[in-house]
Symmetry: C2
Subunit: 222 residues, 2 copies
């Protein structure tokens, strides 16, 4: 499939509708901080029952290890993957997070670089350092922007480890469905294009169809 | 005063006790992501009534502008300051966040670098770039670690703007109360030393007394 839905800040009702209608069609869901602030842990538990696919907590963790672990613990085991930033480094930060994730079977996902213009100001300058860090930690996944396909292809080429590449930036941010998959990504993360649609299921089917066409054109088999 | 209490993941009861006992003694409170996940917005509203000092949402925002704004919006106006990472850059990220904060009278605070060992791996390498970014954006405050006083003094010396320096890292992380103030910080952020104490009020008084003694020794007047 290769599709993960990003749910940034929907309420209980809209989210359960989307989960219910799209669960069979996608690989998983990525939930943002606004969503986690607005919806209670009990509501999360109810939602989890509707769809038992990959649930990614997109906390964009960027803190010392002690705090990053506290933040995941607060989610009471409702998630099986979590996103953290590479730039906080390993020592007393990602080392602790990765040990915690390993013990609990949580998939750690690291941001390699970001989809917006500002990523070129600072993030990109440390890409080689991040590459070294990623090879040491061997995360389950890496976030790399669909808006910048050269970065995805570059990471695929230079990385000495197997890791999934997850690409946001499709839709309002500029990339088309299939762009990132063709560049070497494993999953495309699509948010507003689906969650803002009056018919999310139809929007998902359209994205999947565009992905398929793109993969045919670029001759990639997932 | 120069003291902000960090509340990482306490529940409603413990937090209201701390707010009630310490409100007159400190400058404000910094609340972490775990806390915001565990406590509902209604509970937050109740807590806010107890103490109307500076409330900092320590989301350690590190996302595109659109998402950072969504995350603050989710907090429904209960906070008057918010912490973001410099690392994400200005364009389509901190520029949007700062406009949003300005419109709503929210104080933006940027992380300059961090308190743990891993900060030396990547964060420190871009300190000059972060300095330039900080001078462009002129945040109300900057987070710089009490565990690394040379960085605080360095930032004070090189920065061409007025900005408050807030320093975490006191207590379990190694710095003593007063260390960061003597190095040039405006506020020390103290968490576990106070929140893990059976008598938080007494712990605050001890921290304040240690700060005072240190300031006398280093001859700094706040």
């Amino acid at each position: 499939m290769g599709l993960i839905i990003a749910i940034d800040d929907l309420d209980f009702r809209s989210t359960t509708k989307i989960l219910d209608e799209t669960c069979d069609l996608v690989d998983g869901y990525k939930f943002g901080i606004a969503f986690l602030i607005k919806n209670s842990l009990n509501e999360l538990k109810e939602m989890r029952k509707i769809c038992n696919k990959m649930w990614i907590a997109d906390l964009k963790l960027a803190d010392i290890g002690y705090i990053m672990i506290k933040n995941i613990e607060a989610l009471s085991g409702h998630f099986n993957a979590v996103i953290a930033h590479s730039f906080v480094g390993i020592s007393d930060a990602l080392d602790m997070l990765f040990s915690y994730c390993k013990e609990r079977g949580i998939k750690p996902i690291l941001v390699a670089t970001m989809s917006h213009k500002g990523a070129r100001e600072i993030y990109d300058f440390v890409l080689i350092k991040i590459k070294e860090l990623v090879e040491k930690l061997e995360p389950w996944g890496l976030v790399a922007p669909a808006t910048r396909r050269d970065i995805i292809t570059y990471l695929r080429e230079i990385l000495d480890i197997e890791t999934k590449i997850l690409s946001p930036g499709i839709g309002p941010q500029g990339a088309l469905p299939g762009d990132a998959l063709c560049a070497g990504a494993d999953y495309e993360i699509v948010g507003r294009l689906i969650t803002n649609s009056p018919n999310p299921k139809k929007a998902v089917e359209e994205v999947l169809s565009l992905q398929k066409e793109a993969l045919k054109r670029c001759k990639r088999v997932l």
